[in-house]
């Protein structure tokens, strides 16, 4: 963008610096400030895969992107309007995302010979003309920060650390936002260290003043056209949302929540969030590995908990065998897979949707499990509740698929009222001791009875061997095995009667093109489809949350479109399922680059079809 121009519907800002520069914090603060005013907003951190690569190198650059505006804010943004680069390495890594033109704010103090060399620059890009087409604000951020604090008693190191708030000040000025929210934040965050709080506030205000004085132009738009529905909001990442959703589900059902887990990027945060909730009756167990994680959860489920295990790709593979035990034991269990780039260790810090077929089929034997997926960070909350609902109601393990992009990304989340959440109070059926048998089933759901150790008179033995249909004892009978295999399948199939129909965003009677998608591609696809439709194109968007079973109207919806496009971040996994189930000659639209779709990538495929 040209900052001076106005009329933009949304603005994308990327904060980039060394891992130590505090850009995640600056970005989050900026995002919160603009969100306060009711803007739509989507954020996305971008961590380096090294913990803390040598300072100044490109390997150590940490980024945080914010997209905000009054409409069509559905992704962190394909291209960046304003890049904040705290050092040469940050500029180098990120300059390409500005390829539509835009503004750059750099800290000139960091553009010294040593840093330029570390970043691999032969000459100084601020001077060699290579940034010619861009609007560059080269500001001495570090030295101005120190200058502003020259009277402070803080150590030089501590003073230097304040530069991220100076930067925040510049950005607030640029977008004409008030600093109040950030000042409040600083006060509460450093409540016990008032000198640091003071320094940061000073610097923040100095940053604003400096930008004003140095004539940094102020964006002429004010992104105040409220589009968010009225209500109380908080910022929420997908991982936190999963944690909250699980805690809420346990509370709503009236069970204790038990999480058996093992750390793995990008899923660890769910464990970390739940570990804090000890006073909510939540137990978190960091196991010796992923197998012990799920096994302990199965044990806890046997003992009566709402049991959960969470992980990402490699951990999911390790859990395969135990998933089979959960299926044949018919115990409730929620398994959260925060997908990342595969195969093997793959691209651990990048996102991907390539574990769908594994979720469907990644176990030996006929081993059906319900699978649900989340579409946005906030939706993670609701799908976690949905997964728990299905698990307990149908006595089955359920896989919830999210991904790194959802897990780390965040958005404003309309805080729900507890009494507006699904009523799950009757979900856990009482077990009738009379005529008890462990595999006695509910006629409608086919769920078996859940008698828990401690309940008198209902002692029973279950296990991984095939069970007799009638009394649940071990059975090697051939016909019984077929019957049980079919009933396990049917139990999952029947869930189709208990989930919402697919919705068509667009033409209810169908039309030229229907784009089908699932998971975190939601925002990118919906945003682009909105634009197409604004142009009057016959295109609709159909987004799955329930992957297994699929909604009952799926075949019908598919049949409405002349061309069925299946968009996903893998090599065509949902596509494969739809083809097999509905014999539709669909057109895959895939990307497997560890990043969400860009609009132009969608257009590349779709434009030809319209």
């Amino acid at each position: 963008m040209q900052v001076k121009e106005s009329g933009f519907e949304n603005v994308v800002i990327r904060f980039a610096g060394d891992s130590g520069d505090g850009m995640q914090l600056t970005g989050t603060q900026f995002a919160a400030a603009v969100a306060q005013e009711g803007n739509e907003i989507v954020t996305m951190p971008d961590f380096p895969s090294e913990i803390r690569a040598p300072a100044g190198t490109t390997a150590g650059v940490s980024g945080f992107q914010v997209n905000f505006g009054k409409s069509n804010v559905r992704t962190p943004g394909d291209f960046v309007d304003v890049l904040v680069a705290m050092n040469p390495a940050a500029l180098k890594v990120n300059v390409a995302v500005l390829d539509k033109g835009g503004a750059i704010i750099v800290d000139t103090d960091a553009f010294n010979a040593k840093n330029l060399e570390k970043a691999g620059y032969e000459s100084n890009p601020l001077e060699d003309g290579s940034l010619e087409d861009l609007e560059v604000y080269a500001l001495p951020i570090t030295s101005q920060t120190l200058e502003a604090l020259k009277d402070s008693a803080l150590s030089k190191k501590d003073r230097g650390r304040c530069k991220n708030f100076f930067t925040l000040g510049i950005l607030l000025w640029l977008h004409d936002q008030e600093p109040d929210y950030s000042i409040d934040y600083i006060k509460s965050k450093f409540a016990r260290k008032p000198d640091i709080a003071d320094a940061n506030i000073t610097v923040l205000e100095e940053g604003i003043a400096y930008a004003r004085n140095k004539g940094v132009p102020q964006a002429q738009f004010k992104l105040s056209d409220k589009r968010l529905a009225p209500g109380e909001y908080r910022n929420l990442s997908g991982n936190k949302a999963v944690a909250l959703g699980l805690a809420a589900a346990a509370d709503l059902i009236g069970l204790n929540l038990y999480l058996g887990s093992y750390p793995i990027t990008p899923a660890t945060e769910i464990l970390q969030e739940l570990a804090v909730l000890k006073n909510y009756g939540v137990k978190t167990f960091q196991a010796e590995d992923e197998i012990a994680g799920i096994c302990s959860a199965i044990g806890a489920s046997f003992a009566g908990a709402l049991a959960v295990t969470n992980t990402s790709g490699p951990g999911m593979s390790l859990k395969s065998e135990a998933l089979g035990l959960a299926v044949i034991s018919e115990l409730p269990l929620v398994v959260v897979n925060v997908q990342r780039g595969g195969p093997s260790t793959g691209l651990p810090t990048k996102t991907e949707q390539s574990d769908l077929l594994q979720a469907m089929y990644g176990r030996h034997g006929e081993c059906p499990m319900p699978v649900v997926s989340a579409s946005t960070p906030g939706d993670c909350f609701y799908q976690a509740i949905e997964a728990a609902r299905l698990a307990v109601k149908y006595m089955t393990p359920v896989i919830l698929l999210t991904d790194g992009y959802l897990g780390n990304g965040s958005e404003p989340f309309l805080v729900p009222k507890v009494d507006e959440l699904p009523d799950l109070s009757g979900l856990k059926r009482e077990v009738e001791p009379e005529g008890f048998s462990p595999y006695r089933r509910d006629e409608k759901t086919l769920a078996r009875d859940w008698a828990v150790p401690g309940m008198p008179g209902m002692q029973h033995r279950i296990g991984g061997l095939e069970k007799d249909y009638v009394d649940g004892s071990v059975s090697h009978d051939p016909v019984n095995h077929e019957k049980m295999s079919l009933i396990r399948q049917e139990k999952v199939d029947r869930i189709a009667d208990d989930i919402p129909d697919l919705e068509i965003f667009g033409d209810q009677d169908g039309g030229e093109v229907g784009i089908f998608s699932w998971g975190s591609t939601f925002g990118a696809i919906r945003g682009k489809v909105e634009k197409y439709r604004a142009e009057g194109k016959s295109i609709s968007h159909i987004h799955f949350t329930h992957m297994n079973p699929m909604p009952k109207n799926t075949a019908e919806v598919i049949a409405k479109f002349k061309k069925v496009v299946v968009a996903e971040m893998n090599l065509g996994q949902l596509d494969q399922i739809l083809r097999a189930k509905y014999l539709v000659d669909s057109i895959p639209l895939t990307k497997i680059q560890g990043k969400p779709f860009r609009e132009d990538e969608i257009a590349n495929v779709i434009d030809k079809l319209l």
Binding site: A32, A35, Q36, G38, Y181, Y185, K226, P230, G231, E232, Y233, R234, A247, A248, D251, N256, Y258, L277, K278, N279, Y280, G281, K283, F285, A287, E288, D289, I291, A292, C295, S296, A297, I298, G299, A300, S301, F302, A303, G304, A307, A322, L325, S329, V415, P416, K417, V418, P453, G454, P456, G457, M458, Q459, R461, I462, G463, G464, L465, S473, V474
Partner: protein, 334 residues
């Protein structure tokens, strides 16, 4: 312990027992049922968890809650049971392959965490259920279906490994010594923490007689029955004893030494090096120690989890869902 008379039948399930007749597991089953009666446990508060193996069929035969899980995973699953509900009486039935081969890591970590459960390890030094392959406790050189020219692997000693992982209760018996076995099972359950009962169990089909030297009457030379506070004396004539020569243990004739030199067993001294000494005796020169080898106090994971929950709750108050959903930083769009 309840005072009503409960006998072992109370703990037997209706299921027909399907081990080979003559299998050493029968004796373990019987003693476990007797121990439950001795302890007066209510059937519904008891959970038996097992892996896969002949020995792991155990839960089917107990009139308690039971879970026959996956090969090697019994302790991981039992950990979940016990952590979720530290009121339950949790027992693990496992074999040498199940606990020490595929399940070795869960064994180590259950011991490390001092998970309050009794581990009944039926060690026949062979894979029974899969019909006779070498196991982690098999002797070097042994010929099995998978080691047709003799095993080149060293045996693992479950007692030593458990000590290495910090186990608080470690004990051993043969399957034949029914009195000792029952006593150990009772003590193991009474102990607060991870309790290993290592049982030398005969598999008559695939590894018959491998423990004869510890079970035959004629072979009393080869077992050392430990008793707390008692000197380490053994032999059919109780004429041999164990002393320490520098840092190396030695077998002596009792008659030849000052009785005060004979080591006295002490399972409960936390810092004592006796247990690890006892677990490292080279068995070509020494008898096999039986009885309680170590029993020390320690906090248990499941209980600590509950305690921490209570502490946090009493400090922060019982969590309120609506407040949790709101979090600390909200804003309102009008």
């Amino acid at each position: 312990m309840s005072d009503m008379k409960i006998d072992k039948k109370n703990y037997a399930s209706a299921q027909e027992v399907k081990w080979c007749s003559g299998c050493g597991d029968y004796s373990v089953l019987k003693q476990a049922q007797l121990a439950l009666a001795d302890l007066g446990l209510r059937n519904e508060e008891v959970v038996f968890v097992s892996g896969i193996g002949c020995s792991s069929r155990f839960p089917y035969y107990m009139n308690t809650y039971g879970y026959h899980t996956m090969h090697g995973r019994a302790m991981a699953i039992a950990t979940g049971v016990r952590t979720q509900n530290p009121e339950l009486s949790v027992w693990v039935a496992t074999g040498d392959g199940d606990a020490l081969s595929i399940g070795g890591n869960h064994f180590v970590h259950a011991a490390k965490r001092n998970m309050n459960m009794v581990v009944i390890l039926m060690d026949n030094r062979i894979y029974g259920l899969t019909k006779g392959q070498v196991s982690p406790t098999s002797d070097k050189g042994v010929i099995t279906k998978t080691t047709p020219y003799g095993s080149i692997d060293n045996p693992l000693d479950p007692v030593k490994l458990a000590l290495g992982a910090g186990a608080t209760f470690v004990s051993r018996s043969t399957g034949k010594n029914q009195k000792l076995l029952r006593e150990l099972l009772v003590k193991a359950h009474q102990h607060k923490g991870f309790s290993l009962v290592h049982i030398l169990q005969n598999c008559l089909i695939f590894n018959d007689n491998v423990f004869d030297r510890y079970t035959d009457k004629e072979n009393a030379e080869h077992s050392l029955i430990l008793e707390d506070g008692k000197p380490m004396i053994f032999g059919s004539e109780m004429d041999k004893g164990i002393v320490l020569d520098g840092m190396t243990p030695k077998v002596v004739n009792v008659a030849d030494v000052d009785p005060a030199d004979i080591l006295v067993h002490d399972a409960t001294n936390e810092d004592s090096i006796l247990p690890s000494m006892l677990s490292s005796l080279p068995l070509d020169k020494f008898p096999m120690p039986m009885g309680v080898i170590r029993q020390v106090e320690g906090e248990c994971y499941g209980e600590s989890m509950r305690d921490q929950q209570e502490q946090v709750t009493s400090k922060l108050g019982s969590g309120d869902l609506q407040q949790l959903l709101r979090g600390n930083n909200t804003w309102t769009v009008a």
